[in-house]
Structure formats: C-alpha cells, structure tokens
C-alpha cells in the first residue's frame, strides 16, 4: 500500500454555491427577487415582517419561513394574508441551525412563485451559521435588537459583514437599557463600512416606512444586477 496525493483545490462550500445558483436561476425565471433575512433568535424578524406585510404596497410579498421546528412564525404571517411556506430543518435535515441552498431548493416546488414579486427567506435564528450559506438570494439583511448590546458586530463580524442592511430593532426599549447607540453604529461601521442601517421599532412602527421603502427597492436592484 502507498499513499497518493490528489489535488482538489475546491472551496468546501462549492457544492452549496452550485445549488444556490440553480435556486437563483429558478427565482429569476419567475421574476422573483429574494432577500435572505437573518438574525439571532428573538431579534424580531417575524414581527418586522408582520409590520412589513401591513405597509408594503405595489410589491407582492411572499415568505419562506425557516425554523428548526414548529410553524408559529408562519402562522403569524399567514394571519396577515402573506403567502408563507414553512421549512423545518428537523425534517430530514438533521435539525440544522441554518438554511442552506439544498433545503431552500427542496421548498421551491411549494412556493407560489408566480404570485410573488419579493420572497423573503426568514432564516433560522442564529448569528453565526446562516452567514456562511448562500441560498440563491439577491440581497442579505439582518436584524439586531438593542437588547443584544453594542458589542455584537465585534463578536459576530461574519454575519454583520455578510449583510448589506442592518435593521436595529426594538428602539422602543431604549429607555430601559444602557445601550450606547452611537457605539453600536460605530461597531457596525468598523466591521462593515459599506452596510446601510435603519433604526426601527417593529412594535410601535417607528422607522418601518424607511424599511419598507428599502425592501421595495430590492426587486428593481436585483433586476439591474442580473440584467
């Protein structure tokens, strides 16, 4: 027996990237722009989408809801008459802590792509793993809530660097916290100088119009990028 060295020279996530591209082609074919929305658990992604559904006009919104288990978030959005598809990672995906391109691919047949202009993929709540896996999206945004503290961009730069938009949520709780908003903004800036940010309260509606305006611009920018 002897040993042979085989050159591989391949990104370990190439397989995921290939499937992500196939997803993207399917979405493009149906004229659907896709936003990958990520955050830590409990940052307020679903509440933000509830407010979004109430105010977004002229763009037909759909949601692919990723969770380890349960359909609580999907039920909340269905109550707002948003076409929503639940994707649970415990069903054949080992209870993964993030969505990957293959999981999203498995859900595509269930998505009513012809009835949607903008699909938001609400990723599994997790500030680390989802940042590694593209799923076929046009844009990536994250929610960070003021209760998480100002140091999160420094602890989880991979996520903050992966997103072009950082939504800072739960602004209504600021009076109860010692959070230094300027410090949080400076920390976001140092890890991702190119990120946009918005200060919102999904609970009171503060800043939601600006978020909806940004979200509504995703399809046009996606069309421009793929043209």
């Amino acid at each position: 027996m002897h040993r042979t060295k085989i050159r591989v020279a391949e990104d370990a996530l190439d397989a995921n990237e290939t499937i992500a591209r196939a997803n993207r082609e399917d979405f493009d074919r149906h004229g659907v722009a896709v936003l990958n929305l990520m955050s830590a658990p409990g940052a307020g992604k679903t509440t933000l989408l509830e407010r979004t559904a109430e105010r977004l006009e002229g763009v037909r919104l759909g949601v692919l809801e990723g969770d380890v288990q349960g359909s609580m978030d999907a039920d909340r959005l269905a109550a707002k008459h948003v076409p929503v598809t639940q994707l649970n990672t415990e069903n054949g995906f080992g209870g993964e802590c993030h969505l990957d391109a293959n999981m999203v691919r498995s859900a595509i047949p269930a998505l009513a792509l012809d009835e949607v202009d903008l699909l938001v993929i609400e990723n599994v709540g997790n500030l680390v793993c989802p940042a590694e896996f593209r799923v076929g999206e046009d844009a990536r945004a994250m929610v960070t809530s003021v209760t998480e503290g100002e140091d999160k961009p420094l602890k989880y730069p991979l996520m903050f660097r992966a997103c072009e938009m950082v939504v800072i949520n739960k602004l209504d709780l600021l009076p109860h916290l010692e959070l230094d908003v300027d410090r949080l903004l400076a920390n976001i800036d140092t890890v991702n100088p190119d990120a946009k940010h918005l200060l919102v309260s999904a609970r009171t509606g503060e800043g939601i119009d600006e978020w909806v305006e940004w979200l509504a611009s995703v399809p046009a920018r996606a069309a421009l990028a793929s043209a």
Binding site: V8, E132, L154
Partner: protein, 125 residues
C-alpha cells in the same frame, strides 16, 4: 458553532474526490475572516468523518491571515487590536483614507487544497 457545518462540507468534498479510497489526510487552507476555531473544526471533522472514507484521517489546516486593499493602495490586516478601553476592534475601514469597500486579498479561504489517499493492490487492479 458553524464548525460542524463546515467540517461536514470538508468531509463531503474529500469523499467526492477520494473515489472510494481511504483518505489519510485532508489539507485545508483556512482564512482568518471565516472565524473558524481550528480545534473545534478538528473535533467535528473527526466525528463527521466516521463511517466515511475519511474515518481516522488527519485534518491539516493552513491558517491564512487576512489582508485587505483599499482603492488608495493601502493594504492592511483587519485583525482586531486591543484598544485602551478594552474591546478588540477590527477595522475594515482604510486606516489611511477612511474609505470602505476594501477588496479582500486574503483571509476568506475555506479551501480543500488536496487529499492523500491510500492505494491498495485492489485499487490498482
């Protein structure tokens, strides 16, 4: 915690290239910007590799420092540096001109460079 997913991706890549032969070593280039903890990656790699041709193989990691380049020409490593008031602050903004949008020259590698497989008499037949 993403080390589990990443180790799975490394094992899958190695298995795909091994052609059924037993893998004795996997060489991976790992960039600092991937925020992967090497010991954690090795731990999961050993577990994920069980019941595959990678069972018992060595994971050799070549750690790559990050290097960014600004349009103004400045190149720098954004590795966190200690500040007077404590926290470690990395800087992705150009230290010279203050611009964002730096190009990543190195540090985002997560690349399986090569594998070493065991050739038995049977695999030559």
């Amino acid at each position: 915690m993403h080390e589990l997913s990443i180790s799975q991706a490394i094992v899958d890549t190695a298995v795909r290239h091994a052609g059924g032969r037993k893998v004795s070593r996997v060489d991976v280039r790992l960039g600092a910007l991937r925020q992967v903890v090497p010991d954690s990656l090795r731990f999961y790699f050993e577990i994920v590799g069980r019941d595959t041709v990678c069972d018992g193989s060595d994971l050799e990691l070549e750690l790559i420092d990050a290097l960014l380049r600004c349009d103004c020409g400045r190149e720098w490593d954004p590795a966190p540096v200690a500040t007077l008031d404590g926290p470690l602050i990395p800087s992705f903004r150009c230290p010279d001109c203050g611009a964002g949008g730096a190009e990543t020259l190195a540090g985002d590698e997560l690349r399986v460079e090569s594998i070493e497989v065991e050739e038995t008499a049977a695999s030559h037949a």
